[in-house]
């Protein structure tokens, strides 16, 4: 990647088009969702923190919640020229800590993964790549030129989705 990737903060999302790339660092229990249209190469990267906004009252930051962020990101992609035939690659949702009195599926990482999958299924967006769960952090790039998602784990291992 010759140019600097566009940074996506924690609890945020950004959109771009080819040949740009997007990056989000330090996914722990959070989930990163790369969404793109493989034909127009318009895409976005989202870093959600929580599964479900309906459990919260008051003002909510859309970009933070799986159930709000994904539909909102899709809408934005359609606006800047993506077709409705989107694909998703997801990463993150780790269980970073050994927690007493918490069963694995109630941990926030697992709940985030489940919520992201549910929202994508409802919107009929296929997941074509996934690297989730486990107990370590991840950094995630979406390269809109070749549509690969690159993962770097906290152990400095690299893999492509």
């Amino acid at each position: 990647m010759q140019e600097e990737a566009i940074k996506v903060g924690i609890g945020d999302y950004k959109v771009a088009n080819s040949p740009h790339s997007l990056i989000t660092v330090a996914l722990g229990s959070c989930v990163g969702i790369a969404l793109y249209d493989p034909v127009s190469k318009v895409g976005g990267l989202s870093h959600i923190m929580l599964p479900d906004s309906t459990a919260f009252r008051g003002e909510k930051k859309v970009e933070k919640f799986a159930d709000l962020a994904i539909p909102s990101l899709v809408e934005e992609l359609l606006k800047i020229g993506a077709s409705s035939k989107l694909e998703a690659k997801i990463a993150g949702g780790a269980s970073m800590f050994k927690l007493k009195n918490t069963i694995a599926k109630e941990q926030i990482g697992q709940r985030n993964i489940a919520a992201v999958k549910k929202v994508l299924a409802e919107m009929q967006i296929p997941i074509v790549g996934e690297h989730t769960g486990e107990d370590y952090g991840r950094t995630m790039w979406l390269d809109l030129e070749d549509l690969t998602v690159r993962i770097r784990t906290a152990q400095r291992q690299y893999l492509n989705l």
């Binding site: 330090a26 929580l50 906290a154």
Partner: protein, 196 residues
């Protein structure tokens, strides 16, 4: 959100952390037979962006020791060291002993165990609270992944987080280390109410 605590309540919390942190520093000093200093504790509300800008970049690889607490002060202690600090401390702890990664990690784990237990015992005694600590776990990961996950696992879902942080020095060497306490929801309100 910024009005969560009054200035007076923050002073009380700061004093509580000062007592806990001071006791922890004393115990370290005895253990290492060196002068251990502690910076005035930080109690500050910050957004995640500000934390990663001012304290440490989110993708910095750190060693962290996690100790969960339960009872009147339920939450998680997270002792964070960068690689430089980790090497410093283990050299200090393992003087004259053969060094391996495993031994170094378990020495740091035990050190943090002593630190946190002294911290917790001082507060428990001062405020007459019932607090239990769990066993320590050491891990190596990105600062951002650990910190966000710690807050989220303890049900802290706000945009901003309250950072409770202590920094320590051994003699003139500042360890690049900090101790965070991530309280479960409502726990701090309970502690404040006990003081009044």
């Amino acid at each position: 959100m910024t009005e969560k605590y009054t200035a007076n309540q923050l002073d009380i919390l700061k004093e509580v952390i000062n007592i806990g942190g001071g006791n922890a520093a004393t115990s370290l000093s005895k253990l290492l037979d060196k002068k251990v200093n502690m910076k005035v504790p930080t109690i500050q509300e910050m957004s995640y962006d500000v934390v990663f800008e001012k304290i440490m970049p989110a993708d910095t690889i750190v060693k962290a020791v996690q100790i969960q607490t339960s009872g009147d002060m339920a939450g998680m202690f997270l002792f964070v060291l960068n690689e430089f600090g980790f090497n410093d401390i283990t050299t200090e702890l393992l003087r004259g002993y053969e060094e391996s990664q495993e031994i170094a990690e378990s020495a740091v784990c035990e050190l943090v165990n002593i630190l946190v237990n002294n911290f917790v015992n001082a507060i428990a005694k001062f405020l007459e609270l019932d607090i239990q600590t769990d066993v320590p776990y050491i891990m190596e990961d990105m600062f951002g992944s650990l910190l966000t996950s710690a807050y989220l696992e303890e049900f802290q879902y706000d945009e901003n987080l309250w950072v409770f942080k202590n920094e320590y020095w051994i003699e003139d060497n500042k360890w690049e280390s900090s101790l965070y306490f991530v309280p479960q929801d409502e726990i701090l309100e309970n502690i404040i109410s006990k003081i009044k």
